[in-house]
Assembly symmetry: C3
Homo-oligomer: 146 residues x 3
């Protein structure tokens, strides 16, 4: 048992084309010094994209993910919410299905994810633009005690 | 880095009709004083409803979400678990797809969600009744130190 | 408000056959002594299985969940990522839909889940083998203060 402290930053990701993208490295290079152990929370401030963990090695997994999500929530369907384009309402639904935040354990000062796990940004809009993420690190022992 | 403290409350939501409902205001008015920064955890103690973040402005998004979820997990399908009605097993599956808890960053003493993000309660049963939620606030600096 | 501390362990689950399995008891028997209140994080280090909360009483719910997930992401579809077998890419997609981690409130020293909620391991591979889980407990008051 160790006392906990927290640290929080907000970052802006560059625009990504529609599809699932591996962004583990983009997150890691922006992280503050991690505590010995704790939790990392990554929160996407948007409702038409998603954050998820998935396979980090083969790009075809990301390609298939995009196709699968399109089959689950097809654009060729009548939606009430249609004034932002055919990709918009499906993007909202996909965001709730995949989720918009992740919580990852920190162990021995590193993200304790599986060998094959990586952080995906799933951009569900055709032109989603920049996306904002809030990163919160909880952990101990704290770097300083006041 | 700041030391963390926690605060937890349990609330009961009024019964909602089947569908997705914006409950950000119901959550916010029950929150204890928030710390300067940290995380808010909202946990639904049920398996046939869901909590998710989605678009907070246009009610047609919530309407479409309900239709989309019904197409993804149709009621006109044979299920083994059927003795609580045709809406029950689909409600369980939808709950796992959408999820039953949320973790939201707190920054400068406020929920740090995107401009268009709101908390949805998705009631997947025809008559789900009241739903219980556990709210846990983690953050710092703490209001008091003992 | 109470100061927080944390505790973390990593466990290996025995291999489970494909399908959804109730593992609440397996998690609980490995937990360290829980704090009076806080949060429990359970994190699966894999991308072809999932963790979710769902109905803990009737085994037919777990049976139906497996069928429903198979209809949502069918194997009889062409995938680019196919060299690990027809069950592999669907397993990756299901993992992102259901999610690979859970955060559960701890109240009065116990997991504060609903009467009907249980922790499911959803094994989406035909032969997924052992699965590793990282459990992090955040809470207070801490067992010791340094």
């Amino acid at each position: 048992m160790n006392m906990l402290s927290a640290n929080q930053i907000e970052i802006t990701l560059p625009p990504f084309p529609r599809g699932c993208h591996l962004i583990t490295h983009l997150i890691e290079k922006r992280l503050p010094k991690l505590p010995k152990f704790g939790l990392l929370h990554i929160f996407l401030k948007h409702t038409s994209a998603g954050l998820t963990l998935n396979e980090n090695a083969d790009p075809t997994v990301r390609f298939d993910m995009e196709s699968i999500m399109n089959r689950i929530v097809p654009e060729k369907q009548q939606y009430e919410h249609d004034y932002e384009g055919a990709d918009d309402m499906p993007a909202h639904a996909k965001s709730s299905l995949v989720g918009a935040s992740l919580m990852i354990p920190i162990s021995d000062g590193r993200l304790n994810i599986g060998t094959w796990q990586g952080v995906y940004l799933c951009e569900f809009r055709n032109r989603g633009g920049s996306r904002k993420i809030v990163i919160t690190v909880l952990g101990g022992p704290p770097a300083s005690r006041s």
